[in-house]
């Protein structure tokens, strides 16, 4: 059974078909949540909540309007991450930013650790900018799908990506100084 069939069956209330969709996407959604939240348990809970909400609203999902099914899932997950940040003022997302920035600030970060530097640089971006980079460069989503997840028009998104990369470059240069 291919993806459109699984989606169609799920829309008709077929839990087994939805289970197959879960198997296909749960890891992608988990690592997206984990990278954003830096909390395994919370990321796990948000994965489950994402699929629960996807099941409840799958009737409204349309590939013409909402992009691909994975874009639909990423959009739900992103909204949940944002909700979580709003509910808990000391959200994990903010902690992540502070922790990374503090690490850098205190000079405890390994100078050769490009990954850590990049993490710290990502932490200095705002939430939308960070999601764009994660979805575009880590998840390899095409611009069209990223635009559906973050609700920014595709043309504007391309310009924005260019600016974010410039901004990241600037942050990394500052770190090296």
């Amino acid at each position: 059974m291919d993806l459109p069939d699984l989606i169609a069956q799920s829309k008709n209330g077929d839990k087994d078909a939805f289970g197959k969709l879960y198997s296909l996407y749960y890891l992608k959604i988990y690592r997206y949540c984990q990278f954003n939240l830096r909390d395994k348990v919370l990321a796990q809970d948000i994965v489950q909540e994402t699929f629960l909400r996807a099941w409840r609203s799958i009737g409204k999902y349309s590939d013409r309007r909402g992009g691909t099914f994975q874009a639909f899932l990423f959009r739900i997950a992103r909204n949940l991450i944002i909700d979580n940040s709003r509910k808990k003022k000391e959200s994990k997302l903010e902690n992540f930013e502070h922790i990374e920035v503090n690490l850098d600030f205190e000079g405890r970060m390994d100078a050769e650790g490009d990954q850590k530097k990049m993490r710290a640089a990502l932490a200095k971006l705002n939430e939308l900018e960070r999601q764009i980079i994660i979805l575009r460069y880590f998840e390899d989503l095409p611009f069209e799908e990223v635009s559906k997840v973050v609700k920014v028009k595709e043309g504007a998104l391309r310009v924005r990506v260019h600016r974010i990369l410039e901004k990241l470059k600037g942050i990394l240069e500052e770190q090296n100084d």
């Binding site: 209330g13 796990q44 489950q48 490009d114």
Partner: protein
Amino acid sequence: MIDKLEKLKKDYLATEAPSYLVSNGWLDLSQKLGNQKGISWQMFFVRGLVFASVVLLLGGAVVGVSQAAKPGDFLFPVKSLSEQVVAKLTNNPSYAIQNRAKDLINESNSGSNVDQAVVEYQKVLQQSRDDAQKSGQTQQFKKTLEEQTQQFRDAQKRDGDRQQLQKVIDETQKVNGEVQGVRDFKNREDSHSGENKDSQSPLNIQHESD
């Protein structure tokens, strides 16, 4: 910049799901999933209810506003239709024609749009006559027409459009003459359907007023 992101991407993609999610994630989730069809029907019902409420509210507003419409106005057909519905629901075939007569007299007094008011009156006159005959309320209807004839005559005296009002008076009297009693109307219907073969049946001949 992209190559630096690529390095972090490797780290990102190396993230593994916790064993709970791998082994029990779907099992736990599947127990929480409700009946999708049930939810769909609930959603459908709620949406239908909201849609019906909006339609009713908008419809009510349009009908309410249309009550101030005059013959020839954009909303006048809505007003006319709503009166016909009220006439049917209350079983009062005189209701619509009474309102058309009021409109006609008002338009005649103000001297505006009398022609359109006459046309609307004529339309409703024929319809009301048929309704009165079908519902057996011919006496009441004839009385209404007689009262209206008098009102038109009074309007004529008050600088109304004499020629148009005279035309309406003639038409009203003609229809009043055509209105038959219940028995006569039924006989006519029977005759048309071929059930009554009696050629002596009083079609259009015997009027209640005779």
